[in-house]
Subunit: 254 residues, 2 copies
Amino acid sequence: MHSVQFTAETTSNGVVERDFTVGEIPGVLWSPASGPDRAPLVLLGHGGGTHKKWPAMTGRAHLLATGCGFHVACIDAPGHGGRPRTAHDEQEIAALFRVREAGEPEGPVVVRYNAHLAERAVPEWQATLDALQELPEIGAGGPVGYFGLNMGTAIGVPLAAADPRIAAAVFGLHWPDALAEKARQITVPVAYMLQWDDEHIPRASGLALFDAFASKEKTLHANAGRHKELPRFESHSAAVFFARHLGDPGAPRA
Amino acid sequence: MHSVQFTAETTSNGVVERDFTVGEIPGVLWSPASGPDRAPLVLLGHGGGTHKKWPAMTGRAHLLATGCGFHVACIDAPGHGGRPRTAHDEQEIAALFRVREAGEPEGPVVVRYNAHLAERAVPEWQATLDALQELPEIGAGGPVGYFGLNMGTAIGVPLAAADPRIAAAVFGLHWPDALAEKARQITVPVAYMLQWDDEHIPRASGLALFDAFASKEKTLHANAGRHKELPRFESHSAAVFFARHLGDPGAPRA
């Protein structure tokens, strides 16, 4: 297996940001500049067409690192960020642009392409998690959270179904078609976010995916608004959720 | 109009609790033991069969007073707490016990009786609010929140529809039958709580009531579990919601 190779380090607003690679996978690890020797880890899954340092990722990472004292990691998904695209990636991206241009529903393309990406991404996340857990400040056996919406949910749901190290997860904004069966295998606490007036994902589809999780503890946050209008305060909700379930000492408690 | 007559005062855990009457309506006002000269007010509506000092009320009041610096008031609903019951109250309570005994759905009785109580309770809340706003520490014109589930929603929805002083509200756990039309008149921010596995309120009914609110900003929190299993952390969610919308200085911000 590959270990974590750090390639750059900066510090801002109380958060140390370290770029790393695990084999060919580029990632970033955010950590509190000061804190206990060991703290829980939250994995962030970015959305389609973005990358590991997209503003939503750095914003959530800082919130979780400074608000909860957690380590936070994100990796570029296959074909995203600086990573090479395959011919299949190029075809699917072209297909997505075509349906958007034509004003046709993008769901079928997104569902199909994200399911393909998840097959490539899940083993990458598992290799990354293996390597991160070798770091003394994270360690094996500690609780791990996962937080990803949109494509981050398409990858995170099969990851959480496959990997018992994921102890709590925040998902949202996806279709049940390729995910409901995996969701039925997930029993850890889940928070699910959907937009009540989503123009891409029918309301009943979002509710069906939430319904599919087998978790005893699951909570749905549905907000008025369109697909891209998820309120920013839901990042705070996610932090409170992880503080509750990952058991950090210095966190915003519910 | 009647003014607030204080009848008793105690202080515990940083919260001053003052019993009061407004005319014949008995109430309680919780306030931070220390804080600014003036602060927002949140009204608590208790559930059916309980009263103004039910543990859920005092718990929420302490959370809002110490966590957000708010004043918090609750009054006994008609026929509840120490208040006299009419012959109609006795009939409806007997009807409720009968359907419960028989294992029949209690929704029809609860919906009908709560709608009746709301007609009596809304003017009482408005008279109480008039009187509370004459207190210098509350004042007229400041933001007012309302937080009530179950019967507290059956009373709070028509109150918020009728009274423009209600600037934000937390509702939940009720049927749309008698409330959806009033909900369509409400445009202030609303948080709505429902239980995903509610044995009394069909899921589609709860979702229909949330859907009916005309508010641009509305958020649904649906949790796995039965009617009485609303997680206690939702009181914290409500506090964060009120802190966001009532604009208090010392509050848990999202």
